[in-house]
Symmetry: C2
């Protein structure tokens, strides 16, 4: 006998994107110490606004309850407290989506659930991801040795690839609004994917982590599409909506009607979570509940508007420069075509060296990103304006 490791881990690529960015910044800083203070980071994928007061107050109250015998809470339900599930249920009603409480599972974040959900599926299933892609979809499937195929995005399809007969896949990831492209599927696009999943008996894993940025008539939830309850699992999070990236709370919807091989995926997920998870902190769940109160919603909207204003500063710059981009309207991400047909790492270096601005090279998200670049709306107004002024000057100088 001898313990042996999961060999799939040994085949994983190093996740070098952000490490490489950090390395190039360090190198630039040591070459130009006098310029370091002028560096503006527009590659941030993390929120920067503090938690809303209503959320903080709810967590302070909950923490104090935990210190008193009469209101102390021990183990809660692994799938979350009803008070929070009820608040989420009401939120979905705003989009016309009816959910039963037992279809809502509270977790410590969408990233955990996106990885852990794969426990439920056969390792021989083939996975389809859209390229460019959030690397977690790829790595988590490589860890269990699944075959991965790619639906390529491009300027031609507006970075919103649609189903094609050659996509022979059992599990399909969609992220809308998309990370990294910011592109958002409309009802027609999502309906095509739901029909495709129905026809192929596939499962859609729908990542709605950025739904809070959606405005107008675009769908927030896959369940706004008829038939989605029979093909889709939806992942969402308080990270971007309410600034919970360091507070950790998300939720996953597994419809009661979703079955494969005669098994209920809802019951399987319940079994997975009750066996390998012990629920989210009571304090955190009270904070998340407060997100849906009147004052909570108002305060959150102020933060979201702050980021939207940053996004508008960026998209206005792109519009003036006639640079092709997706996102920025219903997303904190702006995915732009590198000027002068540059590749993304060359443009990264140029922007760093000549404008002291950091973004994220599209190549880090897949082949379709090789000539694209991601900027984010999570900086301050001041820095966003200054970065865009420098960006504009740089691009204008390039076309002289």
């Amino acid at each position: 006998m001898s313990a042996s490791v999961n060999q799939n881990y040994l085949k994983l690529n190093e996740s070098y994107l952000f490490a490489e960015i950090a390395r190039r910044i360090r190198e630039w800083q040591s070459a130009h110490p006098e310029l370091s203070s002028q560096l503006i980071r527009m590659g941030i994928g993390d929120v920067t606004r503090p938690l809303p007061k209503t959320v903080v107050d709810a967590m302070v109250k909950a923490a104090q309850e935990m210190g008193v015998a009469e209101t102390f809470r021990g183990y809660g339900p692994e799938q979350g407290y009803d008070f929070l599930k009820t608040a989420i249920q009401s939120y979905y009603k705003k989009f016309g989506v009816e959910l039963a409480l037992d279809e809502i599972f509270i977790s410590d974040g969408a990233k955990s659930d996106l990885g852990n959900i794969l426990d439920l599926f056969d390792e021989n299933n083939t996975v389809l991801v859209t390229d460019p892609v959030y690397p977690v979809y790829v790595d988590t499937n490589m860890m269990s040795g699944r075959k991965i195929i790619y639906a390529m995005s491009s300027e031609e399809n507006g970075f919103l690839p649609l189903p094609a007969p050659e996509y022979r896949a059992d599990i399909i990831y969609l992220c809308s609004p998309n990370n990294p492209t910011g592109a958002v599927y409309d009802r027609e696009g999502l309906t095509k994917w739901v029909r495709f999943a129905q026809e192929n008996n596939a499962i859609l894993l729908f990542d709605a982590a950025y739904e809070c940025f959606v405005t107008g008539d675009l769908p927030h939830s896959i369940y706004e599409i008829p038939g989605a309850r029979d093909v889709a699992i939806e992942f969402c999070s308080f990270s971007k909506k309410a600034g919970f990236t360091g507070t950790r709370c998300g939720y996953t919807i597994v419809p009661d009607t979703l079955k494969r091989d005669g098994a209920s995926l809802n019951k399987m997920w319940l079994r997975r979570q009750t066996t390998k998870f012990n629920g989210v902190s009571y304090i955190t769940q009270r904070g998340a509940e407060a997100v849906f109160t009147e004052s909570g919603e108002r305060e959150i909207e102020e933060n979201l508007q702050y980021y939207r204003d940053n996004a508008a500063i960026i998209t206005e710059t792109m519009d003036r420069l006639h640079i092709y981009y997706t996102g920025g309207k219903n997303s904190p991400y702006i995915w732009l075509k590198c000027p002068s047909d540059m590749d993304s790492w060359s443009f990264f270096d140029k922007l760093l060296n000549e404008a002291y601005v950091v973004g994220t090279p599209g190549a880090g998200f897949g082949k379709s990103g090789e000539k694209f670049f991601r900027l984010t709306a999570f900086s301050t107004h001041e820095n966003t304006r200054e970065a865009m002024a420098r960006f504009e000057k740089l691009v204008q100088s390039m076309s002289l």
Copy 2:
């Protein structure tokens, strides 16, 4: 194509133990509504004392920091903040165990990590568990289709089974102090397991969730045993130590020196956690850090002493009645032999019907538990005393 489910899930047994206990209590209550108020629950596996003031204060402060731009924290390190890892590092020094910070991984609890660690191992590995067993060890391995073998416990080995040549296993679970038996391995016993793992190139998964109840010279950590760094992963939690069952924080130690198939298990776990996990709430981590302050330690010791006093009330009763038991001395669990050679479910019914006291039938934890019964120290002093008075009266009446 067609999405297919992980067939191993379909082979899982229903986890019916606590559901069946609840059913029998409901039945008894509807038959005897006049006695319901006299029911005392001694099967509780959850803490009941509130969080220490020092911990609450730290979490209140941290929640308030999250509401201010200057002190707001977004994504933290997936493997935990250094401030908490440093506190844990110092705690281990008290047992003479030196850990590097990158060997300590903070998580939302030992249950999550005990399940998720299996991602790192080949599915063809054979698993050894001691019987009676915490059901999570069995279910998580059944979910990935691993073969499971059992090391049987009994009065003869004091519910502390030792290695035997016929245990051909790659992964070995040990829980000490044990759930459900409360039995604690001494250095000699653990040394035998470490040697056995070395000889068989096996991995020890050491569950130290109850180490805070250990007194005297018994080991708190597997790393107190020479050689353990090359064979063992240790799981621990703030749940029982500091009442965090509803607050959720734990930690896992993966030594830098632990390698299999040429791969570092530390690096593999780091890759697993950075890919499928996003860290524990900053607020919770500040609460956990406070556990190790002077006032935190003092307040926690008061709570632990409260439970120890309950355990002593129970063990004194067993001693007077000359009932064989394990645990109670370095554990909140007392594992007793059912009086009059009764089977555990029959004794459950008798204790419920005649003394209005609820415990946990040993059969729920495996074959070795069929004539044993678990009582816990997590009730109040008053209820523990009253329950033991009734227990004593019942057992005395049985021997008349």
